[in-house]
């Protein structure tokens, strides 16, 4: 049961990754290329000003590493498909746990609600503080701090969302679905507001970086995530409904023989 849900989650995640690749290729890659062009121009200016011995060790590490063609093609599709399959699988596991424990909502509805909650907590909240950045706008030496802050916010956001669902579940019987959802959502928003205010801001934007490229990059990054979560949320429910329908049928049958 759980295994077959997991497999379907990963399968729909692969599909989500493929659709996202099409979108990323058309809308995301041109912005990445523009950012890299800016980065190279910046590096060239720096190299021209720096003394000869002071060159950054960038060029010599390039040997044998994937070039731009691979990065924008096979690398991009691999990254998106692996990510899609992984989040699709984790989504299926969360679904398997939540199903039948959040009131009378059916498989398709639950899948859509969970995907919306996942999008809010995994994508929307982290990007409010640490938005997606194209190449060239972050400093290499701060990657440790930036990675830590990003994942701390991600864990707090997803953990807060899980607590919000637990709260909604406790309030369900007494306040009904609508009010329970409103109260739990308000609690999540209040918690996240405090977290977002408390966490340090990062701003390493180099002077002269095109605001258009930044905006277009970020909007296509959000577009990719919307596609991934929409495909998973809407697609997984349909697949899960069939699996669970069989389950209900066999459970009833088994019960009648008892």
């Amino acid at each position: 049961m759980v295994g077959s849900l997991l497999m379907r989650g990963m399968l729909i995640g692969v599909l989500a990754g493929l659709v996202a690749f099409g979108f990323a290729r058309i809308f995301g890659e041109p912005q990445v290329d523009l950012a890299i062009a800016f980065e190279e121009q910046m590096a060239a200016t720096e190299a021209a000003q720096a003394p000869a011995g002071d060159q950054p060790a960038m060029e010599e590490t390039d040997e044998g590493l994937p070039g731009r063609g691979t990065q924008a093609g096979l690398g991009l599709i691999t990254g998106l498909v692996v990510y899609g399959a992984a989040v699709g699988g984790i989504f299926a596991l969360v679904f398997a746990f939540a199903y039948g424990r959040l009131g009378a909502i059916g498989a398709r509805g639950l899948s859509a609600v969970l995907a919306l909650a996942a999008f809010a907590s995994v994508v929307l909240v982290p990007l409010l503080k640490y938005p997606a950045n194209p190449p060239a706008v972050s400093l290499d030496e701060t990657i440790g701090a930036r990675t830590t802050l990003y994942f701390v916010l991600l864990v707090l956001s997803v953990g807060g969302m899980a607590l919000a669902f637990a709260l909604a579940r406790r309030l369900l019987a007494q306040h009904g679905t609508w009010n329970a959802t409103l109260i739990a959502s308000a609690a999540y928003v209040a918690f996240i507001t405090v977290v977002l205010i408390a966490m340090p801001t990062i701003n390493e934007m180099p002077a002269g970086f095109s605001p258009d490229v930044l905006w277009n990059f970020r909007i296509s990054s959000v577009g990719i995530q919307i596609i991934i979560w929409a495909v998973i949320g809407l697609g997984f429910g349909v697949l899960a409904e069939r699996v669970l329908g069989e389950f209900r049928g066999s459970a009833r049958l088994a019960g009648s023989y008892r």
């Binding site: 049961m1 759980v2 295994g3 997991l6 995301g28 890659e29 990445v32 044998g64 590493l65 994937p66 691979t70 990065q71 924008a72 096979l74 690398g75 991009l76 691999t78 990254g79 998106l80 692996v82 990510y83 399959a85 992984a86 989040v87 699988g89 984790i90 596991l93 398997a96 746990f97 199903y99 039948g100 009378a104 909502i105 059916g106 994508v123 982290p126 990007l127 640490y130 938005p131 997606a132 950045n133 194209p134 190449p135 060239a136 972050s138 990657i143 930036r146 990675t147 830590t148 990059f217 296509s220 990054s221 990719i224 995530q225 669970l244 389950f247 209900r248 049928g249 459970a251 009833r252």
Partner: protein
């Protein structure tokens, strides 16, 4: 067949925790490792030496919103 058609349609039956848990632990762990390789390997932390994985999934890492360069 009629028994299924006329039964109360949406009364979802929860899957027992004992059945979900092993999948959640082992599956969840493996899938999170997969996300780690797309999102963070050879950035702040490195399990495999070199920069091949980082460079290979590089565009996806940026576009998915993970911290990079």
């Amino acid at each position: 067949m009629s028994d299924i058609t006329f039964a109360p349609a949406h009364q979802p039956v929860a899957i027992p925790i004992a059945e979900v848990l092993p999948w959640a632990i082992f599956g969840g762990l493996l899938l999170m490792i997969a996300i780690y390789f797309v999102g963070a390997e050879e950035g702040a932390t490195s399990l495999i030496s070199g920069m091949y994985i980082h460079e290979f999934v590089h565009d996806g890492r940026h576009l998915l919103g993970f911290p990079c360069h």
